[in-house]
């Protein structure tokens, strides 16, 4: 099962390496990892998706916590959440193909962000399915280049995953009801 983690880490040099190294060393299979800034300059946020069974998923969480620079880990796999990936697809678009491609883009609610005589760049945001769907449709026209950001995720509703206090994320954690090591 694909698990999605939101991981808050101290914004310090080398922290990304520590996280990546952990996954390699423990032979956990990263599907996607994104990292970026948060509303607090001293904190970065990662979204990590990993293929894992429920036992493994719990161990991944525990192992992330063993990294001293990790502030908070949340497995939001089963929580209602918005999950987004962004892709830019450069597709060959000559003559009559051009209008077909433009049509597809609008059906998928993607945007055309660059127009050249022989190609278009289409930008699309969404979940995996949506992006894969568009990609499949575009393939016959000739996908020249593609880049995807990897997924970012956020819980729906007012419940936040964010680190309320960097001074003491542990206190917050204790209050968090889904932390449990027994089975």
């Amino acid at each position: 099962m694909l698990n999605t983690y939101v991981v808050y880490v101290e914004n310090k040099p080398g922290v990304l390496t520590r996280v990546a190294s952990l996954f390699r060393r423990r032979a956990f299979n990263i599907d996607s990892l994104t990292v970026g800034r948060t509303e607090k300059p001293e904190v970065s946020r990662m979204t990590i998706t990993v293929e894992a069974d429920p036992d493994q998923a719990r161990r991944i969480e525990a192992n992330l916590y063993k990294l001293v620079n990790v502030l908070l880990v949340e497995n939001i796999t089963t929580a209602p959440a918005i999950v987004r990936d962004l892709a830019m697809i450069k597709v060959a678009a000559m003559h009559e193909a051009r209008s077909h491609v433009l049509e597809l883009a609008s059906v998928f609610r993607a945007r055309v962000v660059d127009v050249a005589p022989e190609s278009l760049i289409i930008e699309i945001t969404g979940g995996d399915d949506k992006i894969d769907g568009l990609l499949e449709m575009l393939r016959p026209y000739g996908v020249l280049e593609m880049v995807r950001t990897g997924i970012v995720a956020m819980r729906r509703g007012s419940k936040c995953s964010s680190v309320v206090s960097t001074a003491n994320p542990v206190a917050q954690l204790a209050a968090d009801d889904d932390v449990q090591y027994s089975v």
Partner: protein, 570 residues
Amino acid sequence: MKKTGAQIIWECLEREGVTHVFGYPGGAILPAYDALKHSRVHHVLVRHEQGATHMADGYARASGQVGVAVATSGPGATNMVTGIATAMMDSSPIVCITGQVGSKLIGSDAFQETDITGITLPITKHNYLVTHVGDLARTLREAFYVARSGRPGPVLVDITKDAQQSACEFDWESAAPQLPGYRPDLSPASHEYEHALQLIHNAKRPVILLGHGAILSGAMREVRDLAERAGIPVALTLLGLGALSASHPLNLGMMGMHGEAWVNHTIQEADLLIALGMRFDDRVTGNLKTYAPTAKKIHVEIDPAEINKNVKVDVALVGDLREVLREMLPRIESIDRSEWLDFIDGLKGQSAVRDIQNLPDNGHLYAAHVINDLWRETRGSNTVVVTDVGQHQMWEAQYYKHEEPRSLITSGGLGTMGFALPAAIGVKVARPEAEVWVVVGDGGFQMTMCELATMVQENLKINIAIINNGYLGMVRQWQEFFYERNYQATPLLNPDFAKIAEAYGIRTATVTQRSQVVPSVQSARQNDGPVLINFQVEQEDTVYPMVAAGAALHEMIRRPGPIVETAADE
């Protein structure tokens, strides 16, 4: 007050309670060495940086205090890698301080530059690169705190030369650790206690599996109370030996690959395993598919990442063992389990471990005899045995009865040959009043015997027993069992160990007969200086019983031929 980084290093070490460091100088750490003159810290000059890390490790295991090793950049730092990995595997708290090239040179392949924080990232609990003197005091405080708290482990602090040379205001108080994400003290929820108590009270055939965590936690008394009150027998891991005295009636002995046969059978028959501060290493469980099939499992463990890693458990109590047991003890009911204990007593007859002691004294010298005689001679006198890795290590675990915690120091998880002599130096420095014995193979001794010089230079009274079988014995044993006695690269041509000892000014004896063992041990003990005894033992002797890799715990390879019943348990 303004201080240089070099001064801050020693000042912080002193404030952390460090009295000794084990190190080796070089260019990038020279500013720190220059400032050593004004420090109360005693520097032990090692002969190889691997030795420094094992010494720090031995120091930590013997005392429970953080051990410290120091090295220069590049080769000095990389020489530490084996010792750091050894400490990591066995949860030993050490701090390694390395010099690094100037911060402006980092990344330029400067002379003796290596990315030691990158190299040691997977084998340290945490590590740091310090490039600004202003960060130094807080980093060192954090390093000690992280190394000793929670599940202990090695921490490396790499300090650039310019950070050692430049100065800043030094204020210990304001340099307190800032580790917002670090959570060493967890404790179980109350319903988890309930569940555990219920399992314990309902069990008919419970066994406690006692590990190194009991010693790290200082929970010896609580463990004994639990065992006695609930009438539960105790099996120990290699690193747990000494956590309950060997002579305690509920102590079954060591479990696992070379554990007593009856101990492994007991575990396989159990209906409840209570794992206390042990991590179900594969040398302990044998094949996981067939491991303790009828048993429920309780795991008391400080590291949540260990829960359900190898063995799936029914209840996990995540927290410090001593704290957890103190919480549980008042609610433990005393239960009569004599039926179960009698059953286990019946299994003891099956043991083949001890039969070697009954082998005739026919001119052969068996390693087991040496160890057993050493134990008889040194028991009850504050002795610490430091073993290396191999057959002699297993015989020590089988035939030396450890009554006290921290009386056996050995590399379990990494199985690092060459560990014993340097670790023993750390042990003796930490506990000068203890009698320290090194039990080492002829192979492993040659990996770090350069540290004999360190021992002599520091004037340390350490006794060394080389179990000399002319082979890389443990590997030869595997070749015997699993590779049709194809003894490739295991016979050793050894130097004259007596001459080696003499070269260092160390007293020495060579023993070839059983009758010489006790006198040689007695004379070594009476001698004020270090003594090296070369025990020339049976060459193709085998450690029994043995659980082959991948076999079920109860499918042990036993000593061929009739089993000699032993009367005395001594």
